[in-house]
Symmetry: C2
Subunit: 330 residues, 2 copies
């Protein structure tokens, strides 16, 4: 295993120290494992808190800042954070208007966020929860009952974050977050497995001439293996899966996401094929976002997430955002 680390058990605190150094606008508590906007709590603003296992950077800590999350709770690699972390982050960002927990649908996260919500309610912090479950590849998986939460998390955090920034009340922010999740579908493809620092070898075995369709972000099994495909074929299979399940509606926000080990040049090649296919099928395209946003350590591969967006959601998408990984308009 060759990784740019000091020791496998120091990856999370070391990376948090780096995040703190690079981003003085974030309050990073390396001990408590919380990343909070330095201007939190904002009185009267709904707080947005997310979190989950790390290894998916920039998700979630890279999305903390103006117009997106108020706090993130990083767990160990591919391991849920604990309820105390979530409760502590929630209390730190509660400005009296309540807190929305954005939870990817993995059993550990769902359970721990539920316990955290109870701790919050005990402490007088009102909590709503949205569970993100956008991945159409499999119905149940290694770590999940129901669909997995992947790329749509970015859309939920950006769009609900913009709405919260505008001063909307908790129930409205929660309803929009749920609507974004319900309007989003994803599908991922792995060209290689990822290697966790603790294990030191690939999480699964994928022959040199094969790829895995419908992969999750922790190396969970997908739908099937096939011999290596072109970017055009990968786009076709992925969009077939996504569009078969995507609700009807407005134009789409498209996330062309890299899993961590795939060069940006290749993601743009995939984007070209996605664009060609969507146009051919008459799906109106509103915006693209291309890059590594919801990753799986060093995995080579990609995922596509589409979100149906009406004018209201598009305005939220275009609204200013100022986080380490997503910035515009301000």
């Amino acid at each position: 295993m060759k990784k740019l680390i000091n020791a496998p058990d120091q990856v999370v605190p070391d990376a948090l120290r780096g995040l703190a150094a690079a981003h003085p606008e974030l309050a990073v508590d390396v001990e408590a494992r919380t990343v909070v906007r330095r201007d939190a709590p904002r009185i009267g603003k709904v707080g947005l808190v997310s979190g989950g296992g790390t290894g998916h950077e920039p998700l979630h800590a890279g999305f903390v800042g103006f117009g997106m999350l108020d706090a993130a709770c990083p767990g160990e690699i591919f391991t849920s954070p604990v309820p105390d972390q979530m409760a502590s982050a929630s209390q730190a960002v509660d400005g009296g208007a309540g807190v929305l927990h954005i939870v990817k649908n993995y059993t550990g996260d769902v359970l721990n966020f539920r316990l955290a919500a109870e701790l919050c309610e005990d402490a007088g912090v009102e909590v709503r929860q949205v569970v993100v479950d956008d991945d159409v590849a499999v119905t149940d998986s290694l770590y999940t009952a129901g669909r997995r939460g992947t790329g749509a998390t970015l859309f939920v955090e950006k769009l609900a974050g913009a709405l919260a920034e505008s001063g909307a009340p908790l129930d409205q922010v929660a309803a929009t977050a749920r609507r974004v999740n319900e309007s989003s579908r994803s599908f991922g493809v792995a060209l290689t497995a990822c290697t966790t620092p603790a294990k030191g070898s690939p999480t699964f075995d994928l022959p040199a001439d094969q790829l895995e369709l419908g992969i999750g972000i922790h190396g969970e099994p997908g739908r099937e293996r096939r011999t290596m495909m072109t970017a055009a074929e990968i786009a076709e299979v992925s969009l077939d899966a996504v569009l078969a399940d995507l609700p009807p509606g407005g134009p789409v926000l498209v996330l062309v996401n890299g899993m961590g080990g795939t060069p940006l040049q290749e993601l743009y090649i995939l984007c070209a094929e996605v664009d060609r296919i969507l146009r051919a099928r008459g799906v109106p395209i509103a915006r693209y976002l291309v890059g590594d946003y919801v990753t799986s350590l060093d995995m080579a591969g990609c995922s596509l997430t589409l979100c149906r967006a009406d004018d209201a959601l598009l305005r939220l998408w275009d609204a200013p955002v100022q986080t380490p990984a997503l910035r515009w308009g301000r």
Copy 2:
């Protein structure tokens, strides 16, 4: 070889089609291989043109936009673009105030940009040139006489771009670009070699327990091979090399750059070590930028670039920028 491509000889045009789809604010000519700001030429504004072989994304096309480059000329992978491309891009962005060519110090790029400058002068476009040569690892290399141009290219493009946006004349923009290059030093480390689509196998052989210090962005040989090191040791060796050669001056801009195949979490670990060492050595730190900016396809590894910046340069750094890969403040 597993790559998200259609065919090795279609990588560059396919990626340009994707760039065009994702970024309607750029005028991408897939045939002529130029990427130009759609609002070019801006009358009275100095035009900034760069380019080089591709495989280093987001450099350069990802840096075209407000406050940075006016145009980029992508070559084949690791291969210089041709003079006609450069001349055509220069004419497209000349608003009567002349054009600055930002050239990384590789023999092919230097030669072709020189020929392009002659074509431009023939067409009545005034041209100045800055050659970027920040890499302290080796004095001559496989493709270079003198030092290689790497991470400082981002600093030159951002700082000179901000100055040009403010309406400064050509000679002043060129002088600042040269000053930024002279104030910058870089050092890179490879954990793995990269694989070009054309070759289909790693460009060099690096044993599983070794890394290469002082690597270039095309897999050119570095200074030496060592057995695998920790992030702290890699930061120490890299900063030793950079600081030994960095001119004295103001606080430093620090680019903690990934080579394409290294997860962002690991780059933040490196950033933590860099921050610790710079503080211990009393080097004042002005800003960090952490991410994949000057890459080498799927290579795992990193590079560090430091640039001494006075208040004037820091103001240019903080000035608004709006490109696919670098955005803030607007």
